[in-house]
Symmetry: C2
Subunit: 440 residues, 2 copies
Amino acid sequence: MNSEDIRGFFASREQLDMADYLVLDYYIECVGDIETALAHFCSEQSTAQWRRVGHDDEDFRPKYAAKVISLTVEGELSALSYPVKHSESGPVHACRVTIAHPHCNFGPKLPNLLSAVCGEGAFFTPGVPVVKLLDIKFPESYLMAFDGPKFGIEGIRDLLHAYDRPIFFGVVKPNIGLSPEHFAEIAFQSWIGGLDIAKDDEMLADVDWSSLVDRSHALGEARAKAERQTGEPKVYLANITDEVDRLIELHDIAVRNGANALLVNALPVGLSAVRMLARHTKVPLIGHFPFIAAFSRMEKYGVHSRVMTKLQRLAGLDSIIMPGFGSRMMTPEEEVKENIEECLQDFGHIKRSLPVPGGSDSALTLETVYRKVGSVDFGFVPGRGIFGHPMGPRAGATSIRQAWEAIEQGASLESWAVGRPELQVMVDGANRKKQEDVKK
Amino acid sequence: MNSEDIRGFFASREQLDMADYLVLDYYIECVGDIETALAHFCSEQSTAQWRRVGHDDEDFRPKYAAKVISLTVEGELSALSYPVKHSESGPVHACRVTIAHPHCNFGPKLPNLLSAVCGEGAFFTPGVPVVKLLDIKFPESYLMAFDGPKFGIEGIRDLLHAYDRPIFFGVVKPNIGLSPEHFAEIAFQSWIGGLDIAKDDEMLADVDWSSLVDRSHALGEARAKAERQTGEPKVYLANITDEVDRLIELHDIAVRNGANALLVNALPVGLSAVRMLARHTKVPLIGHFPFIAAFSRMEKYGVHSRVMTKLQRLAGLDSIIMPGFGSRMMTPEEEVKENIEECLQDFGHIKRSLPVPGGSDSALTLETVYRKVGSVDFGFVPGRGIFGHPMGPRAGATSIRQAWEAIEQGASLESWAVGRPELQVMVDGANRKKQEDVKK
């Protein structure tokens, strides 16, 4: 490209009608001339050839080109942050670049949006071997084409009559191998112990040794019994993750049998399938995060998890389970907080999703998670912290509610545990582990 | 886990009925004790808690646990290859590990398979911060549940009456912004010039300024005219990438109007949607690769592109467009060859897919690509190499066919170009560029 060609891919916000554009933030490392690389970066993701041969006065760029609207050169690097085979030579620069991408190029469709912002264009631009898509901002005109969550946080709270506190989920364990009857008995115990939502593991769906028909039937009955016994609404969260052409059928089966919320692995089925399901669903739809780490863990490469949280909310998930706090989840604390914020912040007419930062939780971690989230608008989702509790799942669930009481009362966990054996056994276990670690 | 717990996640192939298992190859970097990390790696991706509390004689591992069946410690590293926040301490080892994963845990379903092999388990294991899924091997019993491509390479060749040579695709350019009428005229010219398949860009789908209804109608007519004029079958490859609940409808519209192959962006719509479409389709289904680089470019992290090629073939794509040769595509040559091999090698009863290694091709690169592929069983897919040709798209297509004639005749491109102006202008352009580069 010559310098005039390059100019067609740069603009200021003032020159554009921003209602026509998505705003994309990227971190890039570019090789050689920065402006040339950025013009290619825009050209490759929009109109790579902007006129027909022999039509010298034609120019598709004003309407269809992606355009750089802001650039910050963070500095020159001695080498790319990651080794990538590529063809350009010259100095390497780390840049933050903001691009206005015309949404008329693809319309309000999730697969086409993904193709535009993290497809061949963005990741195969000459001179731009290292790319991370950091954020997407949508004009109201684009958001209006999406329904978003049908229930949102308020809908989930109304379902459970649970206000002014977190929502207590639990992943029934053993996650793989239980018969529907054993599964139902364990879930029942956890509901009696105080759990709001007993859920299928993200790996447990419709399998021949625990079909969704049988499991949702057994769980529907167990839920009704738990509701009678406790006088409280309870939720069975059934995992209907499956081939996309079975999702609607599995929704109908599970809901008919008594599942009153549904889990779907959002990225494996695809965000578009989530949107389809959200349109159809009669109960809250909750997403789990398999696959997200494969493209979001590298600090400077891939797609930021915030983008996926935003798109999952846009697609209509009422609640989003995400990699949470604690070093087991290998996600920086700031990133977890950004993902929580993506669920809660204003987003046009789109309802708020309940964020569920997950990862090896128990009564012992509740206060930390609550303090980090900074509000009661979150879901808390232990697995083994409830279902591996030494006194069993009922006690496991009770220990979580006791830990919440301690927070409400402003008491320390240690003091609140006195006379509460379910919590005491968790506190004792933690103290024992501390002592063992000291001995090592 | 204690040493007995750990033992439950190791086995030899001889101890297992391998028909019950997928075989997964991972590169991992683990921190601390290797066997402990690997036991967690298996446990997290299968039965994380393998007995109910209070049932000490219960053990779900023999049937449901993923198990290490082979381990090669490649060496100790001074640090992880990529910085990842994590909780373990101890020596860091690079390992190649082979895992037998029981497919009864999820069944022959692509979203559930993806959740199992590159989900929370694989990527959030304590002590395993760096993971790359390298390959999946399937037992025949699992493959039997999949139909694979309906047409395959032979079906595409029969459609075009094109044997013993590559299939010549071209991405109509300008890719974004053309009216259906102008698009049809350009495609027509390229067919007359010798192209087999004129295709929509992966970024051009059903948009208001070029609806699929209008475009497929215009292209269907142009194709019929080109077939009459040349006496050869031609293909219009229409991009129906869209929300998954519109794919079947768009298939029907495009095919009714005269599109005789369909393009879909496989990862953005989801592999499961591809499988659904492959079951329905009346014409060959061709996949494009947006999003693949986000998780496959890092040498030691994410998911190898080979896995996605294999899964796309399994899902039923008759042809797979993939990042090809040349430094613009930033993909090591060996990786491109592996992806081509994945399309062509024996895969149970699953038909072969036509590999289309793409990236900035033209008459000038055909021989190189052909020699690297090592057979005529590939598609060649220039964009600007045809539609940016100085003499126009008809000449651009002709230049590709002339380049193939040169190969068939064993002639050099330079000598074959004499008296063939379409090829000559490409050769002249390349020579001019070489001289300019020398001057620099």
